[in-house]
Symmetry: D3
Subunit: 304 residues, 6 copies
Amino acid sequence: MPAGDFPYAPPAAAESDSEEGRIWSQIKKEAHQDADSEPALASYLYSTILSHSSLERSLSFHLGNKLCSSTLLSSLLYDLFLDSFSSDPVLWSATVADLRAAKLRDPACLSYSHCLLNYKGFLSCQAHRVAHKLWTQSRKTLALALQSRVSDVFGVDIHPAARIGKGILLDHATGIVIGETAVIGNNVSMLHHVTLGGTGNVGRDRHPKIGDGVLIGAGATILGNVKIGEGAKIGAGSVVLIDVPPRTTAVGNPARQVGGMERSAMHEEGFNGGDSFDEGSKLLRWWLEVVFALDDTGDDLISP
Amino acid sequence: MPAGDFPYAPPAAAESDSEEGRIWSQIKKEAHQDADSEPALASYLYSTILSHSSLERSLSFHLGNKLCSSTLLSSLLYDLFLDSFSSDPVLWSATVADLRAAKLRDPACLSYSHCLLNYKGFLSCQAHRVAHKLWTQSRKTLALALQSRVSDVFGVDIHPAARIGKGILLDHATGIVIGETAVIGNNVSMLHHVTLGGTGNVGRDRHPKIGDGVLIGAGATILGNVKIGEGAKIGAGSVVLIDVPPRTTAVGNPARQVGGMERSAMHEEGFNGGDSFDEGSKLLRWWLEVVFALDDTGDDLISP
Amino acid sequence: MPAGDFPYAPPAAAESDSEEGRIWSQIKKEAHQDADSEPALASYLYSTILSHSSLERSLSFHLGNKLCSSTLLSSLLYDLFLDSFSSDPVLWSATVADLRAAKLRDPACLSYSHCLLNYKGFLSCQAHRVAHKLWTQSRKTLALALQSRVSDVFGVDIHPAARIGKGILLDHATGIVIGETAVIGNNVSMLHHVTLGGTGNVGRDRHPKIGDGVLIGAGATILGNVKIGEGAKIGAGSVVLIDVPPRTTAVGNPARQVGGMERSAMHEEGFNGGDSFDEGSKLLRWWLEVVFALDDTGDDLISP
Amino acid sequence: MPAGDFPYAPPAAAESDSEEGRIWSQIKKEAHQDADSEPALASYLYSTILSHSSLERSLSFHLGNKLCSSTLLSSLLYDLFLDSFSSDPVLWSATVADLRAAKLRDPACLSYSHCLLNYKGFLSCQAHRVAHKLWTQSRKTLALALQSRVSDVFGVDIHPAARIGKGILLDHATGIVIGETAVIGNNVSMLHHVTLGGTGNVGRDRHPKIGDGVLIGAGATILGNVKIGEGAKIGAGSVVLIDVPPRTTAVGNPARQVGGMERSAMHEEGFNGGDSFDEGSKLLRWWLEVVFALDDTGDDLISP
Amino acid sequence: MPAGDFPYAPPAAAESDSEEGRIWSQIKKEAHQDADSEPALASYLYSTILSHSSLERSLSFHLGNKLCSSTLLSSLLYDLFLDSFSSDPVLWSATVADLRAAKLRDPACLSYSHCLLNYKGFLSCQAHRVAHKLWTQSRKTLALALQSRVSDVFGVDIHPAARIGKGILLDHATGIVIGETAVIGNNVSMLHHVTLGGTGNVGRDRHPKIGDGVLIGAGATILGNVKIGEGAKIGAGSVVLIDVPPRTTAVGNPARQVGGMERSAMHEEGFNGGDSFDEGSKLLRWWLEVVFALDDTGDDLISP
Amino acid sequence: MPAGDFPYAPPAAAESDSEEGRIWSQIKKEAHQDADSEPALASYLYSTILSHSSLERSLSFHLGNKLCSSTLLSSLLYDLFLDSFSSDPVLWSATVADLRAAKLRDPACLSYSHCLLNYKGFLSCQAHRVAHKLWTQSRKTLALALQSRVSDVFGVDIHPAARIGKGILLDHATGIVIGETAVIGNNVSMLHHVTLGGTGNVGRDRHPKIGDGVLIGAGATILGNVKIGEGAKIGAGSVVLIDVPPRTTAVGNPARQVGGMERSAMHEEGFNGGDSFDEGSKLLRWWLEVVFALDDTGDDLISP
């Protein structure tokens, strides 16, 4: 893959309004059912979802309440989020795509409303989208303040300059760190404790570039301006310091490639069988079982 | 160990009331002494401990205040916790056992009140016990809301469906992730950043089963429906993808077994010499020193 | 390096008042500019910085608001912090040195005010300095309560007994755990998810000793009473169980030393070219590229 | 009326459970309808009413949230109120009677839920009932703290020693002050700014005794150990320093009796035509119109 | 004045935008000056005024924060207020006129920003305008909840059905009570503790009608469907039960008319010499001094 | 009394330190006893009193928490109050005298701590003292913000320019309004709903001057630049528009003098038999009984 054509492009506002409308109707339906069956939670569901006239307002309210502090009031944040979500259809279509990605790709995601309310990865990512927009408008101080609140509240630290595609799933999410010049394509899944760190070239492009449909396992550390090719998989706990070709798998500390290319439709639109949390481990296990015959020879275990 | 008889059973309400009474008396005594010697903290100690008529109330109050938000009020949570603790003696005996486990097994735990007030691992685990109870009662929305609050506040993400025994120590706890079909036996200790993740078999039993008395070091990642046998030890930073036999130790990325079985009374009732934080590293060091003669031959270092 | 002369000493109150005065003036200047250009944030900037008459008050206010809870009121914490910062010039000079360290060594740190307001690593470290002071005054209950709040709010868990030098940079910081008998020298940088854990010798000196100018990469785990010599570097994701000589680099799980000693002026006073986030990865990459010729021979990948 | 048999008696627990059950059902029905028609308020209605299993819990929750402060937490107050309401059927029957009184006697009271949620007179009175109970149990400090909170939050200052009957309506309520030895019978209505003040005999019985069914207009001041007989009416703005016979009306500053006795069934059980806010003024107006022919002769206005 | 043509009409949106623009510019200028000269208050001024892009937003934010509670969140109220202020130019022009009225007619009102931030009378009145709008839209539950919050927070109790003109000054405001069918004209001033109460005709028009430019002194009580004619004055502490002709003065308990009609341009547009707080007392004093020669003949005092 | 020598002088710092020390010791003793006997309140007592090293700090903390809002943080107010109390011994001695006045003159005041914690009149007065100090320093915006908070929270509205002596008792206090040019001497007692209002002479001295030892009953309204002479008494509900000579009593609407001068040592230092709440009514009653033979002749009642 030539350096010049890394497959990142700003997400297009391709999600039709009807798609968002369908999801918002579904969210309200879910919340109504939950409120009926669980009165103790009805107040919460009404304040976060059912009292709002649109998904933008619901999400802005929820983020504002989650991220506010005694010195950054919820009303200010609510205004900021609502303004960004309402005025930037490209940003908003990415948010909707993220919601759908969680529902499609995470088997533990019971419903859209579950993701909207409870997924700190989803919420962190949307706050980042707004912080990134502020950053590109040279409103750096406010962007950094948002980053800081997200890091305090969710334990997710994404530099506002980082460019992130749409259809993103940050599963569990605690401890994710993404550096300033990182670029993440569309339909990427990453688990908790993933680091996309930099190299020591100050002021230059020094963080990883993650291609479309990449899957990064829990605790993986990817460092430097390396390219993780489209559809590649990074095993849990791996330390990746080199480029990983498309549709290959890299595992270990330091990580190495295992197996050849494979056809990976896994994260494409409409695919709903995957489990981001589990794919990495399944691949890693396959690696151990097939390549190193792990279960058969104990001796081989000495040289993984 | 046959798959059918994994040694997990619902914890029995075996802790005698007098045991709990003794601990509660001790907690109040500690809090009184602390309040006397540290007036700046007396208000905190009275509101969290000394103003309450029972340990259930004290813990419910403390959890309610820790986990409440602007949309999930503390009174609601207090009611929910108190109702669960008061009405389910089996659940409550597990809570008491966890308190004792922290005091017995963590050398940095100065007192019961220290654990009750300050240990986010202990508090996360008790909130999970209530969430799990709600989950088994099909109150899934509320259970997931609790899980989300624990993940926001403590950085500990335990799926409410996960089954957890008693006498559990989650030390430091930040970043722990435990999946939906995970099962954890009694007297298990695990450090921060431990992941018990799943495999890609959606809807099936896809997360680890942890036997009684297992010790899991910091940052260890255990993936898939693997069995970690009774009394086994998992080294810090290990990535475990295979079963680990009872009373053995597994280390490395990917993890391999080191040494044979050993008699491990370490986490049995009454044992107070262990240090969960340190046992993993001690074992790991022993592994390095004895098996690979780490300090002597640099060459061996190439193939850990 | 003889055991008796590990290069840790209590930080001296060497920072001249004029140095602090210069930084405080700069912080106020930055905040004024930010308030002018970003009215939405002006309230926040005035309440945290511009309304205060000194850096001690600004930091005490900010920490008090960040760490307060419904049972630990902000006024109490404000008083506690302000008293410590105002009455202990040695402690305060270390705080000022930390602020300068972030500005000098983290390329993502745009300004002193950015660090003061947004860096949870900086804020955690200052709260620890106060907790440590309380610990040495036998005010252990209050010290532990502070530790607990820092762990809840920032996900940084530093035992109040741990001794930490000055000019410290905890970058990103989420998930850092530092044990009771750990000692950290001056001008140390460590990334998120770093663990300085103990060994099972209860009541004895069982945690790592980190020399001056050491750099520890993201997710590194250092266990036991080992010495990391002055100017050493620990690669990201490494698990270190043995001493690491000064000015060397250790990487891997378990970690091994790579290359020989090198002249490392990197973290000395006045040096401003480094990037703590990136240095570890650069070194680690160099290790892979130079020593193991990673990109050339696939076979070598099997035995990293 | 002899001094010895002033018609105050502790309210009896005469309200049948079915009566309370009927009201609670009605409140929930109202709240459901309101939540459906006004989604913006649904969260509020669920948290205050619909999520609770009983009227006691709903009221305890609401009072706890209204009266809590940063130093008196809502959970503590919730517990305190719930315990009092649940354990004292006489107290609770008075609360239910007050609810019914507001609905029956105040034409502006649209519904039981309207009173429960919004009437500061009703809420102040219930908090007083609990404070009074504490006072009789010699828990004076807590009783006085409650009084103080009610005075801060609602502007209603009732000494916890004051004895108050059941079926009480405090309409609008702002500025009401009731002294230590005041006694108020059943089915009394009083408007805002009413003072039941004392005389200078320290330590003796020095505040007014208000008979059953008395109506006291806005801004009336009644001072000293005077008796306001059963069914009497006190005009708005009056200053009363003498006994007022049963079923008579007193108006003016200082107040004088106008007209003779009258049959007054107004506040008896089941009567629903009155308007406490208006009765005083109607009587007062009648006084002016009938006795002084107010509208006819302008000259008479000089000597009212 | 015939009963049929009481001079109340819905306020017209006559305030030109440029007038509001001028006031908003002035408010921001004042706030900037205050922020510069009083850093301790700058945060408050930025969050309430300077961070907002319009007067509507500033007022909505301020009211939302003042009136919110743990069960009625500030974001919800902010949305509600902003929607009303932005969508109803007639309502908004009345708000602007009130702001100007305070500045013109209250000598203690130093600036527009002083009124906007600190005058509970002004804030109560604006919250009432929104509650009234909700009432006319049959959103009665929400309207009553707003009324209740205003009564709790400001001690001002205005029934949402009451119709209020523009250019209103509620000075000091504590304890004001205004009933359901009250109607208040334009440019009315009333002091604290004023009651506009009803008569016992349930369901009918039973509260006072206050003409344009009326001035009502502190503690005055006006009861029943009486008409206070245009430009009339009601003395402090008066109890008014009869119609008061235009441009006359009524004082006393019960109130009587003093003197004849007078030309009163006092509250007309552009007049800035008045002092609502003082006018009533000045008139009352003149009444005493001139008509009854108060200081000369003690005997006359018996019959005020 | 000549206009030029109205007996107001700035209070002198005459209270000896030992007096304050004695009171502070007493307060702590009371709080300790209360905390022991009422665990539910111990947290409150520790946070407000027992955790503080001085009465200044305790009061500053308490006022800061009472008066803070989401836009005026408690830490800021705490700092402001503490700075004023600590740096101005004259102001502080007046505060101590107020505390003693409540204990001496209010029979319902059980203890110093009861007053310190619960008396909104006491707390309002101390906040005013600080606001007045700010006003005299030309920090008008902050002074007015404080006034506004006191009016919101306590319903007490004192213009920061008003000059108030020491040994002041504001009993019950709700609804008190004191104008800009009012002057209040030492050892004055006033009840709730008292107004010291102005006259229409804008910019001039237009509010009442209250002499030493004056007692003002509930709901009394005093308007204009009138002098209430030393030791005078104003009956409840009176409307006073003229000077009242020293040691006389004025009652009624409008108020007239009753009786001649009397020797009044009532509020002098050391006198502890009075009851401010009751004195006014006792006098008023005496007036009715003695002068008008109220109980004897019904006819006289017609012309009060």
